[in-house]
Symmetry: C2
Subunit: 320 residues, 2 copies
């Protein structure tokens, strides 16, 4: 019988669902609104009904292996979502308990999006067979998941892996977390926009980006300008790679991974971001680790990554 | 029958040996020279003979559980000591294989000193019952061992946990590793001596340390001056705590430990170093982790720590 896991990605706007087999093949998918259900009970009902419908679609030869959930502010140990700023429900949500009540006897696991992406990479992607690696998501912010000895590092409270809030520049840029100089103020999609505007202020090199206001500037516009040889856009990638490379070199000294996967948003810029990041990482790395750590793009198709990552939690929890 | 593990600490000058029971009681100890045996075979012979003698001393009611070894540049996975700068033997030494040939059927494990100290803390010390913590050794250099989910993080190549070579000050102090700004150039026994001399150059505050040349200055002299209220010595502890606190706050964002243990050398200065380190750590910590992470002195008696840590490897490897 074919085993299938449900992957659920709870985002601020939409919730994506899918049934996935052990090899990462997506059998059925669905999408529902997150915001349309301000009452938690209604949301859970809709979620479970949708999972049930997908299972029915999958047919009678499928065995249900469990449900994995990727969500912001998720506590893996407690099976809860805790005070998520961008979800409609306040306080601590016992999401695992609530879903288990509807699907008795199957494992239900929740973790945050970056951890789910790391486990997805390990189960289906470029980290198959690796026991020590890290995955860094370069989106609006910077997220990360660390795997050591084949197991995700959750830490004492389940909130390990906040590489985006390593301080890379003491007294540096103002961060939404209330501190200054966090990696994500430099090495995220928002960070590179900030870098472009700082360069516009500090440098006199010409750039098509000088005519774009901050509010309209996107990371994609910066990539496109850099691909055309725009010197300011290229300088912005250089600086972004420098900050990210230094932070990665420091993280390597703690967990000594076989590989680092870059995922999402900025990672799409390809060598524009990989080349300077790799160069500064090697330049700043302790001799013990030099030329050993692979810097790789994620091996997971980004369109399916959220569902795949969430579903991978099931196979990982069964094996672990 | 009483189970006993042998702990062996291989230092640049001496090798300390001891038999230890599961509760951390030392049954018998010995010490031999490391440097007197430039030929590896002679050293291994002497080492194994000494272990045999200790076992004979322990009597016939003891069961031999295995041998744990703490050594510089140790590779846990391969059971080797690799190109240790301060040991008499060049190249890669298959220490585990060589010792196993003499003690057939018992586990033999090697790791570096800081990792052994971390496992010692977990098996016998203040980290008993903890699954996520880190231990930082503040000696001539800065070493560290990270435990996540009850297991030491060895990383891909067994060389994880080099907190001393996190760059805390880009472009900062020259480090023996060939880079600049590493934590150990600030937060070690040597680092605080450098800080004192930098302060002597930069500040005009009076200090008894102004009459001490760098080559004669010790961390203990700085502690003693600080305890007498010497303003420059106090400023040196303040700066040391700041660098260490910032580095710990960043490390916490990766592994989210329950506690951080400070061990050795500088840690003996007590609140002189703990108070500023704790203050700067909290000040620089992401809100998620604030007021959660305990900063503690090691719970292991320092005089016995090297042997205890090494012997703990045996109990840890039996359990893990």
């Amino acid at each position: 019988m074919r085993k299938l896991a449900a992957g659920i990605d709870i985002g601020g706007t939409n919730t994506a669902l899918g049934l996935v087999d052990r090899d990462g093949r997506t059998v059925a998918t669905a999408c529902m609104s997150t915001t349309d259900h301000p009452v938690l009970d209604d949301y859970i009902n809709m979620l479970c009904t949708t999972v049930g419908r997908l299972l029915a679609e999958a047919g009678t030869d499928a065995e249900f292996a469990g449900i994995g959930i990727g969500a912001p502010s998720a506590n893996y140990y407690n099976g809860t979502i805790e005070n998520a700023a961008n979800l409609p429900w306040r306080g601590v949500i016992p999401i695992v308990e609530r879903i288990k009540a509807r699907f008795a006897g199957v494992p239900v696991v929740v973790t945050n999006d970056a951890n789910a992406a790391a486990i997805g990479e390990m189960v289906y992607g470029g980290a198959r067979g690796m026991r020590d690696f890290m995955l860094v998501t370069l989106g609006t912010g910077v997220g990360s998941g660390f795997v050591a000895g084949g197991r995700l590092i959750y830490g004492h409270d389940s909130f390990a892996g906040e590489l985006g809030h390593i301080i890379v520049m003491p007294g540096g840029r103002d961060c939404g977390c209330g501190r200054r100089g966090c990696l994500e103020t430099y090495a995220s999609a928002v960070g590179i926009r900030r870098t472009v505007h700082e360069l516009i202020g500090n440098e006199i090199m010409p750039s098509v980006l000088r005519s774009v206001p901050f509010s309209e500037l996107t990371a994609k516009m910066i990539s496109e300008a850099a691909e055309e040889g725009d010197p300011l856009a290229l300088a912005a990638f250089e600086e972004t790679g420098e900050m990210l490379g230094i932070a990665l070199a420091n993280a390597v000294a703690i967990t000594s991974p076989e590989a680092i996967f870059l995922f999402g948003g900025l990672a799409h810029a390809g060598e524009l971001i990989f080349e300077p990041t790799r160069r500064y990482m090697e330049e700043n790395m302790l001799f013990l680790y030099k030329d050993k750590v692979k810097l790789l793009p994620s091996g997971i198709d980004e369109g399916r990554a959220a569902i795949l990552g969430a579903s991978a939690l099931v196979w990982d929890s069964v094996n672990g």
